[in-house]
C-alpha cells in the first residue's frame, strides 16, 4: 500500500473542482429542463428524455469522441471562437456536464413529478409569483430530489474515465483526475499508489450512496 503523492493530491483537487463546477452548471441548466420534462405535454418530451438519458448507455469513448471533435480547433466551436477547448479544464467541464446530465436531471424530474402542480397553484393563490413559488415551495418540497441529484451528479463526475481521457488527456494539475491517475499508476506498475486512490474512491462512493439512502429514509416529505 502506498500513500498519496503530491501529484495524486493535485489530481484529487482537479477531480473535486471538476465535479463541483459540473454539478453547479447542471443544477442551473437542469432545474428548468427537469421542470419542463416533468410537466410538459409536448410531443418532443420523449425525444428530449432519450437524449438526456443517452450517456447512461453510450460508451463514454463515443461521447468523448464527439465532444473532442466539437471542441477541437477544427470543430464548429473551435472555428467560431478561434480557440480549442480540448485538453483544457473548461473542455472537461463541458464534457462532464453532458456525461453526468441524466444523473442530475432524472432525480429532479422525478421529484418535480412527485410534487405536482398542486402546491404551486396553492402558492400562486397566496400571491407568490412564479419564481417566488418555486423557491419557497417547490424546491423545499423537492429537496430530496436535489440531494439525490447533487450527490449522484458529483459522484458520477468523480468516477468518469473514458470521456476524460478522450477530451482532457491527463495533464497534471489541469486535466489529470483521480480515475485517470489510477490508470497511469497501473500502467507504470505502481500498484501501491493505485491501491491508495482506489480505496479513496471506493470509500467515497459507498459513503455517497449511503448518504442518499439515509436522507431518503430520514426526511420523508409528507405531501398532503
Amino acid at each position: 500500500m502506498g500513500t498519496l503523492t503530491d501529484l495524486d493530491l493535485s489530481a484529487l483537487w482537479v477531480s473535486v473542482r471538476l465535479a463541483t463546477v459540473t454539478v453547479i452548471v447542471l443544477l442551473i441548466v437542469g432545474t428548468p429542463l427537469a421542470w419542463w420534462l416533468a410537466h410538459t405535454r409536448s410531443r418532443l418530451r420523449p425525444i428530449v428524455e432519450a437524449a438526456v438519458a443517452l450517456p447512461i448507455v453510450l460508451p463514454p469513448t463515443v461521447l468523448g469522441f464527439y465532444i473532442l471533435i466539437t471542441l477541437g480547433p477544427y470543430g464548429p466551436l473551435g472555428r467560431l471562437a478561434d480557440l480549442s477547448l480540448a485538453f483544457t479544464f473548461t473542455g472537461l467541464v463541458i464534457a462532464s456536464v453532458f456525461y453526468s446530465m441524466p444523473f442530475v436531471i432524472q432525480p429532479l424530474q422525478g421529484a418535480f413529478e412527485a410534487v405536482g402542480k398542486a402546491p404551486l397553484e396553492a402558492a400562486w393563490s397566496l400571491r407568490a409569483s412564479k419564481l417566488d413559488a418555486f423557491l419557497t415551495v417547490i424546491s423545499p418540497i423537492a429537496l430530496r430530489g436535489y440531494v439525490s441529484a447533487i450527490v449522484l451528479g458529483f459522484a458520477h463526475t468523480i468516477g468518469e474515465f473514458g470521456v476524460v481521457l478522450m477530451v482532457g488527456g491527463s495533464i497534471p494539475g489541469q486535466t489529470r483526475v483521480l480515475s485517470t491517475t489510477i490508470f497511469e499508476h497501473v500502467e507504470t506498475m505502481e500498484y501501491g499508489q493505485a491501491h491508495a486512490i482506489a480505496a479513496v474512491l471506493l470509500t467515497f462512493s459507498f459513503l455517497v450512496l449511503l448518504t442518499v439512502y439515509v436522507v431518503n429514509r430520514r426526511f420523508p416529505i409528507h405531501v398532503s
Binding site: 398542486a118 393563490s125 412564479k130 419557497t136 429537496l143
Partner: protein, 363 residues
C-alpha cells in the same frame, strides 16, 4: 353590490364549458350541479388557473381577463382567496408559517384581515406550532381556509372544501364558514354537489349542468322554480325557508318556529329562542286541502296559501307553486288536481307532514 361577469368558452377533450354569467356577488353563492357538470373547471377559469382562450371576466370594476386586449392576470395578481378540495398545505412549514405565507406577501396597507381574527374564528390557536402532518383533515382544511383569508381577498373561492372530510368534520366546519363570512364580509363562491352544505350555507345558487349555467338566483328562488325539477332531482324541489325559533315544548318534544308569520312545529331543536333556523320542505311532504277541515287532524302544520302556478310533471302528477309569504311547492296527483278543482289565485290550506331540518338534510 359587486357583480361577477364571466364569459368562457373552452373545449376540453370530452367536455365543453360554455359560460355566460352576470351574478351579484354578496353573501355566499353556491355553484351547484352534478359531478362532471364543470363546477371545478368554472372555478379554475375564474381564478385564471385554466386559461379560456376567448374568455372575459370582470369583478366589480376590475377586469381580470379580457382576451380582446390580450389581458389575463395570473392567479397571483388577482385578489382571490382559493381553497382547494384538498388542503394543499405546505409540508415544510408549520401551521403558523402556512397561515402567514400569503399575509406576508401583500402590502401592509392592503391587509384588512388580521391573523388574530382568523385564528379566533377558525379556532386554530392551539395548532400554530404544529407540523402539518400532525393535523387531522378538518384541522388542515381550517388552516387552508385561514391561509386564504389572510391574503385579504376581495373574493373567496371554495372548491368543495369539505369533500375530503367525514360527516362529523363537515358539521364541525360548516359553522366556521358561515361565521367567517358574517364577520369578514368577503363574498364567497362555494362549489359543492352536496345539498346539505348548500342549504345550510348559501344565500344564492348558480345551477350548472353539462358546462352551462342553467339557473341562478336566491336559494328560495332556485329550489321553488318548477323549471329546475329536472336538474335538482325529484326529491329536492320544495321550499327553503328562513324561520325563527319562538317556543320549545319539551313535554311533546316539539319546537315551534315562526315561518312568514305562521307557526310551524318541528321536532325539538337544540336552538335558543329567537335564533334563526333554515328549514327545507319537500314538495312530496305537502298536502293541499280546500277550506279548513273542521274535524280534528293529526297534522300539526297547517298553513294558508295562494296558488301561483300549476305545472304538469308527468302523466300522473303535477307541481303546484304556492305562496305562503314565501314560495312553496306541492307535488300532487293529476286526479287530485281535477277532483279539487284547483286553479290559479285560489286560497287553500297546506298540510305539511314533515319538515327537514339542518341536521336531517344529510344525503
Amino acid at each position: 353590490m359587486n357583480h361577477l361577469l364571466a364569459r368562457f368558452d373552452v373545449r376540453f377533450s370530452n367536455f365543453h364549458l360554455d359560460i355566460d354569467m352576470d351574478v351579484p356577488m354578496s353573501g355566499i353563492t353556491a355553484i351547484f350541479g352534478p359531478s362532471g357538470s364543470g363546477k371545478t373547471t368554472l372555478l379554475r377559469c375564474l381564478a385564471g388557473l385554466e386559461h379560456a382562450p376567448n374568455g372575459f371576466m370582470q369583478f366589480g370594476e376590475e377586469v381580470w381577463q379580457d382576451e380582446r386586449l390580450g389581458r389575463c392576470l395570473p392567479l397571483y395578481a388577482r385578489p382571490i382567496g382559493y381553497v382547494f378540495q384538498e388542503p394543499r398545505l405546505f409540508p415544510h412549514y408549520d401551521v403558523r408559517a402556512n397561515l402567514l405565507y400569503g399575509y406576508k406577501r401583500i402590502p401592509v396597507a392592503a391587509r384588512r384581515v388580521a391573523p388574530e381574527q382568523v385564528i379566533e374564528i377558525l379556532g386554530i390557536g392551539q395548532l400554530l406550532d404544529r407540523r402539518i402532518h400532525k393535523l387531522s383533515g378538518g384541522e388542515q382544511q381550517r388552516v387552508a381556509i385561514g391561509r386564504a383569508l389572510l391574503t385579504s381577498p376581495k373574493l373567496l373561492l371554495l372548491d368543495e372544501p369539505l369533500a375530503s372530510l367525514d360527516l362529523q368534520r363537515k358539521q364541525e366546519l360548516l359553522p366556521f364558514i358561515r361565521q367567517l363570512h358574517e364577520q369578514l364580509r368577503i363574498p364567497v363562491l362555494y362549489v359543492s354537489h352536496g345539498l346539505t352544505e348548500i342549504l345550510q350555507l348559501a344565500d344564492r345558487v348558480i345551477l350548472l349542468k353539462d358546462g352551462h349555467v342553467v339557473g341562478a338566483g336566491t336559494l328560495s328562488e332556485v329550489f321553488t322554480a318548477l323549471d329546475f325539477r329536472g336538474i335538482l332531482g325529484p326529491h329536492r324541489i320544495g321550499a327553503i325557508m328562513n324561520a325563527r325559533v319562538t317556543h320549545h315544548d319539551p313535554q311533546y318534544g316539539l319546537t315551534q318556529l315562526d315561518c312568514m308569520g305562521q307557526p310551524l312545529f318541528v321536532p325539538l331543536q337544540p336552538v335558543a329562542i329567537g335564533q334563526p333556523m333554515r328549514v327545507h320542505i319537500l314538495s312530496s311532504d305537502v298536502t293541499l286541502v280546500v277550506g279548513r277541515i273542521d274535524s280534528p287532524t293529526s297534522v300539526l302544520n297547517i298553513l294558508e296559501a295562494t296558488i301561483v302556478e300549476i305545472r304538469e310533471v308527468n302523466h300522473t302528477s303535477v307541481d303546484v307553486l304556492l305562496d305562503i309569504g314565501a314560495p312553496l311547492v306541492a307535488s300532487i296527483t293529476k286526479k287530485s288536481l281535477v277532483t279539487l278543482g284547483l286553479k290559479h289565485g285560489q286560497r287553500i290550506f297546506t298540510h305539511i307532514k314533515a319538515v327537514a331540518l339542518n341536521e336531517e338534510l344529510i344525503e
